[in-house]
């Protein structure tokens, strides 16, 4: 089984006001292709740090992090940027679309930073917009869309570069329950189509929709098990 991502003894330390904060103290985790993992934990547990490392926005202090077969632990800023542009799809809590760009242009951004700009690429963006149900909103700007629609644009954008995995940071945090359901169904569908999803969330209901829940506390993995069955007891951790 191929791995979409894996970490070995992943450690991250920050120096804050002269004091060293150990955000991750040695996390080892394998995410096989096609998996849907929820990383859960209280604030301060290290889940944001995990997300930043998976997103290649940061480098670990020690340990390794592999995306596919690529070791990204030691890459420099430009190399990390290239990986982000070519192999990572991120969905944020607050959508993070660029306000002056249209739907289609927003979806295109990661391709633009890979230097890809062709009619074929544009066709792919249009197909993705159609897939998330926004075929009739291509020329709209983010402010003209509802929260759910914006998040669907973000999901389309995260898919445009054919990433190792979709990295979702509280993707339903800003949405009402009906829209949350829409987005989760969309993610479910993508996962059924074989897309790997790594999702950071603190909502148990959302976590339950995934295939596997990894719980962090104080920078360490305290539990890692598939959802369903007797997982209800673990909700007390939050």
């Amino acid at each position: 089984m191929r791995l979409a991502a894996s970490t070995r003894n992943l450690t991250k330390e920050y120096v804050l006001d002269g004091e060293t904060v150990r955000a991750l103290r040695g996390v080892s985790l394998d995410v096989p292709e096609g998996d849907w993992v929820a990383i859960m934990g209280a604030s301060g547990s290290g889940k944001s740090t995990m997300l930043n490392l998976f997103a290649c926005l940061d480098r670990p202090t020690a340990g390794t992090i592999m995306l596919g077969d690529d070791d990204v632990s030691k890459l420099n800023d430009d190399q990390l940027s290239e990986i982000r542009a070519s192999r990572i799809g991120i969905v944020f809590q607050s959508y993070n679309l660029i306000p002056q760009l249209t739907v289609i242009e927003n979806i295109e951004v990661p391709l633009y930073y890979q230097g890809i700009y062709s009619s074929k690429a544009r066709k792919r963006c249009i197909d993705l917009a159609a897939m998330v149900g926004l075929a009739d909103r291509l020329k709209h700007r983010p402010t003209q869309l509802s929260g759910g629609q914006q998040q669907r644009v973000a999901i389309a954008r995260s898919l445009v570069n054919d990433p190792y995995f979709i990295l979702a940071d509280e993707p339903t945090g800003n949405l009402d329950s009906a829209t949350t359901e829409e987005i989760l169904q969309l993610l479910e569908k993508l996962n059924n189509d074989g897309k790997t999803i790594i999702m950071v969330t603190h909502e148990p209901d959302v976590g339950d929709r995934t295939k596997r829940i990894v719980r962090l506390r104080d920078g360490l993995v305290i539990s890692d098990r598939p959802t369903g069955g007797d997982c209800s007891t673990e909700h007390d951790d939050d």
Binding site: L57, D58, F92, L97, Y117
Partner: protein
């Protein structure tokens, strides 16, 4: 190619997000570029005019002119008048001792009132020789200039400048008529064409105006009027004894002008205790005018450069604000794969786009300076006629001449300013930590 097109397109799109802000930023560069072109064009116009006027004096001429010394240093003779200025002896000395002088032109000028019938005009009565017309490039409209015969027989003949002819004889042909000057009559034998004023000489900055001249043979002037001149002033009479107002010397070759001028100075200095003469060398003036032109260009260039720098600071100010405002966008772009260099490029493209728009519109505005100066001048003449009249004629009549090299230079500087003042904000944007930037509200 497509990539760059896209980059520019995105940059323009971001700028159009705040149209007023972008417009005001462009205005700074626009004014800078337009003022570079305008100031240089006006400077060039003035200096060309000045050079033309100096050229009117003739590059191979040396002009010796009588200057009235301050009254306190003059001894008053028995007649209540002091002789001063160039003498007939000076004239003979100069022409006989300096071999490089090809021709010498003695001139005596007196301010007089000319009248015909009931029409009157004040002007200069110029006593001169037949060569005067050629040396001063005076052209005849009708009739002839003074001849050697007039000179020899001290004829009461005169030649009128165009304006005098027009004022005294508005409806008739002046040739053959007699005009009245003091107690004498002079028969008009010719009318000169209009002549552009020449640069001032003999220490005066005012241009020489030839429009109210009446020319008579110098021998006639000497015999009819003499050296002792009484001029009526508002409250008193002014008496003076002057033999020659000016001697225009033509040198045999332009290369000899400077040495001859030195000799003239020496010859004159030997026989004059007072500083009652001045030597003007048009060639020297021409050289000076060229230096002045360079200074003018540097001076104008500096003013324009300051306005461009102010424009640049405006750009930098706006871009710094923009970068702060778009921190989150920078974070998003970094998270989606933008390198630091991509962010720098994005913001630089925006500043350069601003400065190019400012540059292009500034160049276009610069090219209109001829027409606009005319309109402004007309407006000023209507609004403040007295002030305009008080200005030197060079400034009154200046036609800006767009200096061709100023266009690429102004445009180039504007782009360079965009790059210089855009780099710091762009670097600041690129230096942001993407994680921090994403958290920015």
């Amino acid at each position: 190619m497509a990539f760059w097109l896209r980059t520019w397109q995105l940059g323009v799109k971001s700028l159009l997000l705040h149209p007023l802000r972008s417009l005001l930023t462009v205005l700074g560069i626009f004014i800078g570029v337009a003022s570079v072109i305008w100031l240089l064009a006006i400077g060039e116009g003035i200096s060309q005019k000045a050079q033309e006027q100096i050229a009117e004096l003739g590059a191979d001429n040396i002009i010796v002119r009588t200057i009235k010394p301050p009254s306190e240093v003059m001894d008053t003779g028995s007649s209540g008048a002091t002789p001063y200025g160039i003498t007939r002896d000076d004239f003979d000395r100069l022409t006989q001792t300096i071999p490089t002088i090809e021709r010498a032109l003695p001139i005596r000028e007196i301010r007089r009132r000319f009248s015909y019938a009931n029409r009157v005009i004040d002007g200069r009565l110029v006593g001169c020789t037949p060569e005067y017309a050629e040396v001063t490039r005076l052209q005849m409209d009708r009739g002839r200039f003074i001849t050697d015969l007039d000179q020899e027989h001290k004829h009461n003949h005169c030649v009128l400048a165009a304006n005098v002819a027009e004022r005294l004889f508005p409806f008739e042909n002046p040739i053959g008529r007699s005009i009245h000057v003091d107690e004498h009559y002079y028969v008009v034998v010719g009318v000169a064409k209009e002549k552009a004023p020449s640069a001032g000489i003999g220490g005066s900055f005012a241009a020489q105006d030839f429009s109210n001249d009446v020319y008579i043979p110098i021998s006639t002037l000497w015999s009819r009027i003499g050296d002792f001149i009484v001029t009526r002033r508002s409250s008193s009479f002014e008496r003076e004894i002057v033999e020659l107002s000016q001697v225009t010397l033509r040198v045999d070759h332009v290369d000899h002008v400077m040495e001859t001028a030195d000799l003239v100075e020496l010859t004159m200095a030997e026989h004059h205790r007072l500083e009652d003469y001045g030597v003007t060398v048009p060639l020297e003036l021409l050289e000076q005018a060229k230096t002045t032109r360079m200074m003018f260009i540097i001076f104008m260039g500096m003013i324009a450069a300051i306005s461009l720098i102010v424009g640049g600071i405006g750009i930098m100010n706006i871009m710094l604000a923009t970068v702060t405002e778009r921190t989150r966008e920078i974070g998003i772009r970094r998270a989606l794969g933008a390198k630091r260099s991509d962010i720098i490029r994005q913001f630089l493209v925006e500043t350069i786009a601003l400065s190019i728009v400012g540059g292009v519109t500034g160049v276009l505005a610069g090219l209109t300076c001829r027409g606009v100066t005319g309109v402004i001048r007309q407006g000023l003449e209507k609004a403040f006629p007295e002030i305009m009249e008080a200005l030197p004629p060079v400034i009154q009549s200046v036609e800006p001449i767009v200096v061709p090299w100023s266009i690429p230079v102004a445009f180039g500087i504007s782009v360079v300013i965009g790059i210089i003042f855009g780099t710091y904000p762009a670097m600041r944007a690129a230096a942001m930590d993407p994680i921090e930037a994403l958290r920015h509200e």
